[in-house]
């Protein structure tokens, strides 16, 4: 039986593309804001575009923090995309204002330091050899569109879930975190659902870990 993937519906993100990409690689995908549906799906995708504060308000409105916590306790995979990745960190700073994130990982989402922002387009990434998300697409380019990112990774190897984090970096003006794989919690700053065959392969790799 194909794994079920819930795409969290909280009013943000190109959910249609996320749903179709998951279906494309063989998952049964559903769009839902229902806590139990999202808790019990084999995989949960948290999309997100736009402002950090607005996204966090949306996440709070569907009890997204408790949902991610509950899935982590149950060791059920979650994949955050773009702002859906950024909210996993402690805070986001936009226009000088700090917004609390879900705090799954230490770190701050801050403005990219580059002459031309947003970082918009296809860029390479540097996944460590231990990455399973990037298996087969290590040298491919992925589609990014964002003005903010985590530029400092401070988590030690002794994290709360006992999974050494696998951090993939990219570079635009300065190095930034392009992806994190940390036990059941994974996230990517780029849009795999918009990154052609490379992105579909990555989603397929993630769906392949679901039971």
């Amino acid at each position: 039986m194909s794994p079920t993937v819930a795409v969290l519906d909280y009013g943000f993100g190109n959910v249609r593309s996320a749903l179709r990409a998951a279906e494309h690689v063989g998952a049964t995908a559903i769009l839902s804001s229902d806590f139990d549906t999202c808790l019990n799906a084999d995989g949960l995708i948290i999309p997100g575009v736009g402002a950090y504060a607005a996204c966090m308000a949306g996440i709070d409105s569907v009890r997204g923090g408790a949902l991610v916590d509950a899935r982590m306790v149950a060791k059920r995979p979650v994949l955050g995309i773009c702002v859906g990745m950024q909210i996993m960190f402690e805070q986001g700073i936009e226009h000088g204002m700090s917004t609390r994130g879900l705090g799954q990982w230490p770190g701050t989402v801050d403005h990219l330091l580059a002459p031309i922002v947003p970082h918009m387009g296809w860029n390479t990434v540097a996944p460590p050899a231990s990455s399973s998300l990037f298996a087969g697409v290590e040298t491919e380019m992925f589609y990014f569109v964002h003005s903010y990112a985590v530029q400092e990774w401070t988590m030690s190897d002794t994290d709360p879930y006992q999974h050494p984090p696998i951090v993939t970096w990219s570079d635009y003006g300065a190095p930034f975190v392009a992806a994190v794989e940390n036990g059941p919690l994974s996230a990517v700053q780029f849009h795999p659902e918009k990154s052609g065959e490379a992105g579909l392969t990555l989603i397929n790799n993630w769906v392949g870990t679901l039971t």
């Binding site: 190109n14 249609r16 593309s17 179709r20 990409a21 494309h24 575009v49 736009g50 402002a51 002459p115 031309i116 922002v117 947003p118 970082h119 918009m120 387009g121 296809w122 860029n123 390479t124 990434v125 540097a126 087969g136 697409v137 040298t139 491919e140 380019m141 589609y143 990014f144 569109v145 964002h146 003005s147 990219s170 570079d171 635009y172 849009h191 659902e193 918009k194 990154s195 052609g196 065959e197 490379a198 992105g199 579909l200 392969t201």
Partner: protein, 260 residues
């Protein structure tokens, strides 16, 4: 690690069908935007623009359906432009699966639309489509035009670009009405002038004729290059453009075929 220069194809769509001449031998139905989009995707295009030239509002639903089908089948970024007048129009297109929307005339009529759109949906999905042409009397020497370049909007093109960037648009689709259709190369003076005024990405549009034209536009300050008819008629291939860019030491995306 370096950001690749984007190569973008623009499809003119009327009532859900591609118009303005498409001449690909491999197509079953040359008028089907999705078939064409898939073909371009396989050819390595980095992004697609659907320009909705539909005049009647009754055809808007057709356009939304096209965007939905595209999002279902083509997994690369898609921008939709043409006739977008309100926050509701933008919302409908983004919900249908568009990644970005480009706004032109409605922003000239009411610039606040850009600010409202960027605040509501995020800068990354709001593109200013700017049709510029040389106009004496404007400080930069370039004016903003409407109606396909036939009428002056009475605005300086460089100042307008700057203002739109301040309003929060994430990108400028810069169309040179002087170069459009000439196939003599992109309007490098225009690109240079706008690049000097804004720090958001610029898509150069209008005038592409041969592969070497594209590198010149990137070197003048554009982050992306857009063409329509020369791609549709097979005069220049996506691979040729990327080879020419690479030959000029400009990074490009060359995807490996991964999925059978």
């Amino acid at each position: 690690m370096t950001l690749a220069a984007r190569v973008i194809a623009c499809l003119d769509v009327d009532g859900g069908r591609v118009v303005k001449g498409v001449n690909f031998v491999d197509l079953v139905d040359a008028g089907d935007p999705i078939e064409l989009a898939s073909l371009y995707g396989a050819a390595g295009i980095d992004e697609l623009v659907f320009l909705d030239i539909t005049a009647s509002s009754s055809d808007r639903e057709t356009t939304l359906e096209l965007v939905r089908r595209s999002a279902d089948q083509v997994f690369i970024p898609v921008t939709v432009g043409g006739g977008i007048r309100s926050i509701e129009d933008i919302d409908a297109l983004l919900r249908a699966g568009a990644d970005k929307v480009s706004i032109n005339t409605a922003a000239i009529a009411r610039p606040e639309l850009l600010r409202e759109a960027a605040q509501r949906f995020g800068s990354q999905c709001i593109v200013l489509s700017l049709d510029a042409r040389r106009e004496s009397g404007q400080p930069s020497g370039f004016g903003v035009t409407t109606h396909g370049g036939r009428e002056s909007a009475g605005l300086d093109a460089v100042e307008w670009a700057q203002r739109a960037a301040e309003f929060g648009v994430g990108e400028i689709l810069l169309n040179s009405m002087d170069a459009d259709g000439t196939k003599t190369g992109f309007d490098l003076e225009l690109i240079t002038a706008v690049r000097g005024a804004v720090n958001i990405p610029i898509i150069a549009s209008g005038g592409a004729g041969v592969p070497s034209d594209f590198a010149a536009a990137i070197n003048a300050g554009a982050q992306a290059v857009l063409a329509a008819s020369i791609f549709h008629f097979g005069e220049v291939s996506i691979a040729q453009v990327k080879s020419a860019l690479k030959a000029d030491s400009i990074p490009v995306r060359e995807p490996t075929r991964l999925v059978s």
